[in-house]
Symmetry: C2
Subunit: 500 residues, 2 copies
Amino acid sequence: MSQPPSYARLEQRFARIANLDNALGILQWDQDTMMPEGAASARSDSLAMLKVMRHELLIDPALADLLPAAEQEVAADAWRAANVREMHRQYVHATAVPADLVEAVSKAVSESEMAWRKARRDDDFAALLPYLGEVLRLQRAVGEAKAAALGTSTYDALLDSYEPDGRSARIDVVFADLAEFLPSFTAAVLEAQAHRPAVLPLAGPFAPEAQRALGVKMMKALGFDFERGRLDVSLHPFCGGSDDDVRITTRYDEADFARSLMGVLHETGHALYEQGRPAAWKKQPVGQSRGMALHESQSLLIEMQACRSPQFITYAAPLMREAFGGTGPAWDAENLARLYKRVQRSLIRVDADEVTYPAHVILRYRLERAMIDGDLLLSDLPGAFRDGMKQLIGIEPPTDALGCMQDIHWPAGLWGYFPTYTLGAMTAAQLFDTAKQQLPDLLEQIAVGNFAPLVGWLRTNVHGKGSLLSTDDLLLEVTGKPLDAEVFKRHLRGRYLDGV
Amino acid sequence: MSQPPSYARLEQRFARIANLDNALGILQWDQDTMMPEGAASARSDSLAMLKVMRHELLIDPALADLLPAAEQEVAADAWRAANVREMHRQYVHATAVPADLVEAVSKAVSESEMAWRKARRDDDFAALLPYLGEVLRLQRAVGEAKAAALGTSTYDALLDSYEPDGRSARIDVVFADLAEFLPSFTAAVLEAQAHRPAVLPLAGPFAPEAQRALGVKMMKALGFDFERGRLDVSLHPFCGGSDDDVRITTRYDEADFARSLMGVLHETGHALYEQGRPAAWKKQPVGQSRGMALHESQSLLIEMQACRSPQFITYAAPLMREAFGGTGPAWDAENLARLYKRVQRSLIRVDADEVTYPAHVILRYRLERAMIDGDLLLSDLPGAFRDGMKQLIGIEPPTDALGCMQDIHWPAGLWGYFPTYTLGAMTAAQLFDTAKQQLPDLLEQIAVGNFAPLVGWLRTNVHGKGSLLSTDDLLLEVTGKPLDAEVFKRHLRGRYLDGV
C-alpha cells in the first residue's frame, strides 16, 4: 500500500524530530560523562538551539491541517492511527504553551535550580521561597494552558507530559489504598526484621574495574545488547542516548558495590525497554516508549521484582564472591538476600527501600497537587512536608534540607513527575505477577541466570508495543485488570514478612 | 558602540551555525571513539540532517542583502570587516553549488569510498575506475560552479574550500623549487645516514596506560588545557570537537610507543591552535582557524620543528626511560634522536618521514590538478603515479594498491586538499625560524620542558589572529616574507645532513 499523502508528510517530519532527539540524547550523555568542564557554556548553547529547532518542527502551523487529514487516511490501521494520535499529543503539548511562557519557565527554572543548591546547603527555605514561588506560578500557567487544550484539570495537564493519559482521579484511588496500608505494614516489617539475624557487612574495598566487570556480565545475562549501547560512569546514574544507542551510567563506590550493582540492573531495565522498542517504528511517536510510569516499571521489574528475588541471589551470590574474592558467612546467599531487602524508616527518598519508597512519593504527589490547585501555600510546604513524613513514614525531618528541599524536581519545574515512580513500582509488580503465572518456571530460570524467558515475555507484552496502547489499556490487556494496589501489597507481604 | 543592524543579524545567524558545528563536532568525535556499531545508521541520519540544517542557515536568500549592507556598516572595523568577508566566503561556497549537485556528490562519494575499499584490497584499479570517474566528473562540476562565483580557475576553486585564497600559481612556484631539491637531497641524506651508527630498536611491549600517561604529561607541558579538551582512542587519530571542547585521539601500539607519541604531539599542535583562537570571536567566522595549510603548520610546528629537535629529545629522553623502565644505549638521547629522524624511500605517504613526505604530496597535487584540468585521463593515473614516484621518490610502487589507490582523498571527493600538507610543513619551518630569531633561548627552554615561550609566541602571532588575515598576509606580517621554500630547505639540511 502506498503512503497516504498527509500521513507520509507527517512521518517524514517526525523522523526528522527523531534524528534531532538522537543527537540531543548523545550530546546530553556526553555532557554528563565525557565533557570537560570548560565546555559547559558552549554545550548549553548547542543544546538550547537544537531544542528550539525541535520545537519549531513541532509547532509548524502546517500540522494543524495535516493531523486531521492523516487521521482520516489511516483510521483503519491500528499502528498508523496510534502514530497520528501520538503526533497529535506532542503537537498539542508543544502548541498549547506560548513561546514567551516557555522562555519564562526556562529562565525561572535555571535561577531556581541555582537558588536551590545554595538554599539546600544552607538549610534556608526562605531563601528558596521567591524562586520556587515563581516556578510554581509558571508551572500553574503552563498547566492551565495545557489543560485548556487537553480538556483536563491543571494538575492532570502537567502529569500528562510525563504520563500520557495519566489522571489523578485514578491515582488517588490506588495511592489511598497504599497510604492506608504502608504505615502499619512498615511497622510489621521492622518487627519481623528485628527477629532475623543481623545483616553481616561485606568488607571492601571493591575495585571499580571488578564492579564494572560484574555489572557488564549481568547486563549481558539480562540481554543488554552492547552492539547498541554502552555502560559508563556519571555522577548521577541515568539511561540516556536513544534509538540503537542506549547509554546507561553508574557510579562506583569502593566501599559498597551492592548499590552500584543494583543501580546498573535498574538502568538495564530501562535500557531493555529502549532496545526492545518496535524496530519498524523507531523514528515515529508510536514507536517510542509509553510514559514514565511504564518506563519506571521496566527498571523496577528488573531491579526489584527479578533481581532482589531469592532466586536471583542464588544466581548472583557465587558471581559476587568470584568477582571480589569474597569468603565467609557474609557472602552467603542468605546474608546477601537480607542485605538486599533491608528496610528502615529514612529521610531521603533516593536512599529509601522498596517498602518505604512509595510513602515518600505519595507525600510529594499530594503536596504538589495541593500547591498547583492552590490548596497549599508554598510557605506552608515545610510544615506540611514534616507532618506528612511523620504520618506516612513515621519520622520527622530535622531540617528542610533533609525535608522538602531534598529533591531537585520542584525547583527544576518537574511538577507532575513524582507519582510515576510509584505507579511504576505497582505496574512492575502486576506485570511480574502475570509473567510468573504465564511462565511457571520463570523464577527457576532466573536462579540459573537465564533471563531470556522473562525478557522475551517483556519484549512481546511491553517493549514491542511501543506507544500503540495507553498504559492502562496495555496493563488491562496483559494482566487482565487495571492497576491494582493489591498485587503490589501482596508482593511486599511475600518478600518482607515471609522468608529469612 | 551599538551593533549595526545588518551586521548584528549576521552575527546572530553565524553564532547559530557555530552552535550546530559544535554539536556536529562532538557527534562525529563520538562516532569515532565511543559509538557502538549498531548505532551507525541512526547516527549517520542525525549527522546528515544537522548538516542540511547548517546548509539551510547558510544559503538563506536574506544573506544576499545582509552581507553587502553589513560590509558598509563595519568597513572601518578590521575584525568585523574581516568577519563579514569570511561570512561572504562561506555564503559563496554554499550557494555556488546547486542542491542536486551537492546530493549527487554525496551519493557518488559514498559509493566510490565503498568501491575503493574493495578495489584497494583486490589491487583492482579497473574496478574503481567508473566510480572514481563519476567523483572526478562531479568534482569538476563543483569546481566550475565555484570558479564562476569566486573568479578563479576550476582547480583553485576546489582548493579554496580547504585553503582560503590558496592559488595554484603560487603553489607551483614553491613546489617546483622543492621538487628540484628533493631527489638529490634525499640521496645525500641517505648517504649521510649510512655513515652514522645504526638505530638501536627499543624493546617493548609498551603498556597503553604508560603510553597515555606520558602523552598526557607532554600535552600538559605543551599547554593543552584539559579543562577544555580530552585525549581518547580512535582507529585513525584526529583533532575534533570544537570551541572550548577540543578532542584529540591516538592509537596505542604495544610494540611501538614512538609513533603514537609523535601522533599525540602532532594533534596537540592542532589542538593548541583551536584552544588559542580569539575568545571574543569564537562563534564567528573570523574567530575560526585560518585554512588547512595554517592548521597543518601548527601541528607540524609542534611535531616536526619543536618535538623532533635535539633539544626536545634532551627533555623527553629521561621521561621516556622513566615511563617504560627503559635502560641501556637504545634509550640514550642520541639513539632516540636518530630514531626520530630516520629517513627512507617508502611507498606510503602516511608512513613517510619529513624529508620524503613533500614529494608524495607534490606528486598528488600535480596529478589531481592535471585530472581536474583534463590534462590527464583517469585511466592513465596508475602509470603517471608510478612514473612520478620513480622520479620524485626514487622507487616504483609494485601495485596500484600501494600506488595511486593508497589514499582515501580522491575517492572521498577531497580534491584540492593534498597541497595543504606540504604548504603546512613549509609554513611551520618559516614560523619556527622567526620564533627562534625573536626568542633567542627558545630551544634551550624546550630542552628543559618549558614550552610557554613558544606557545605564547604562537598565541600572539597565529592562534589569536583567527581568520583576521589571509594566510599569506599573516606569514608576511609575522615572518617578513611570503612563503619561501628556502627556509624549509635550510631546516631539512640542518637536521638531516648535519649532526649525529
